[in-house]
């Protein structure tokens, strides 16, 4: 898959949404093994990061931060990379964008996609009329 295809898959597929879990793309890519199933279920915390909301609740922010922190703790860098590569800044709130970047920023040297995500988030924040460079202080 190209990066665009992967992003589209991630965005449309709702891998984290059990109601839409029958999505073909995910089934084809991940449902082959029990391990993949476990992983899919274990990523449900990511749903708020793709919910299209302009606001994120503190519960949603904490869920995503907690999930990413746990993946970092397990050194699941390829999976984090994949999450970041597929992350759509425009589909969630500015606070969620910043939470994702800052939580994973501590291991940025291990994440190629982190460096690609920063300008995408910056572009999105600018598109919302926000002072992106100020919001991203410490990350640029």
């Amino acid at each position: 898959m190209t990066q665009t295809e992967t992003a589209a898959w991630w965005a449309s597929d709702r891998v984290f949404d059990t109601k839409l879990g029958a999505s073909i793309g995910v089934r084809e890519m991940l449902a082959e093994t029990e391990q993949a199933k476990d992983r899919r279920e274990s990523l449900e915390w990511l749903a708020p990061a793709t919910n299209g909301s302009q606001e994120s609740s503190n519960l949603e922010l904490a869920a995503v931060i907690r999930g990413l922190t746990q993946l970092i703790g397990k050194s699941e860098y390829p999976l984090i990379d994949r999450i970041l590569r597929s992350f759509q800044p425009g589909q969630t709130s500015p606070a969620m964008n910043l939470a994702v970047l800052r939580t994973t920023g501590s291991v940025r040297s291990k994440l190629k996609a982190w460096h690609d995500l920063v300008p995408r988030v910056r572009f999105d924040l600018q598109g919302r009329g926000l002072d992106a460079d100020r919001l991203l202080r410490g990350l640029l």
Binding site: L61, A62, S93, P94, A95, G105, R108, G138
Partner: protein, 216 residues
Amino acid sequence: MNDPRDIPFENLPEVGVAIKRGDFGLHCGLLYRWGDEVRLLHLAFHHLLCDQPPDLSYLWAVVPEDELDVYNARAFAAWAKVVGEAGASIPYGFNMDGLVLDEQGQLLPSPVGRGLTCATFVLALFRCFQIKAPAAVETWPTREEDAVWKSSIIALLKARNADPEHIQALESETLQARFRPDEVIGSVSSSGWSFNYEQARELADAILVELDNPHG
């Protein structure tokens, strides 16, 4: 600084700091909003990370919005909640180099003798979340008068049966630059972050006056 008896903690928008005079000197922590609740996340002592509602013995202040905007503050408050929930077992220590963080700010299992104080814990929270440092830590001096404080902390660790290996490591290390609670809270709660030592000391002195006369 606000006295919660005049301006209740409930006025906190997202993130703030709190400081008080405790039994063993100054003590400080991070305030954050969690729904309708305001909570205080603080390193009370050796392996004693607390996440609880603040009591009225603290003075408090908001982290200025020009240093932590509303979006980052919201994310940071959620980060504080996650840290509090995780309940990391953080040793008490003086060595800022160790800070139980790696060079990228990730909390790590600490080497023996390394650890945080209540004040460096607040700094570490910002650093771990990739937030610009409130204080230019490299400008802090080593002060001889902190040797007395260091000795009292070590005595307290011994009295509480802390790991002898940890105590030995603390005793054997040279005196470190100490980031006092009033200096850290003065820096975090003021606009113009990356304060050097002299600037932070001025801010800290103002806090000491307020602590002695909270109703000003």
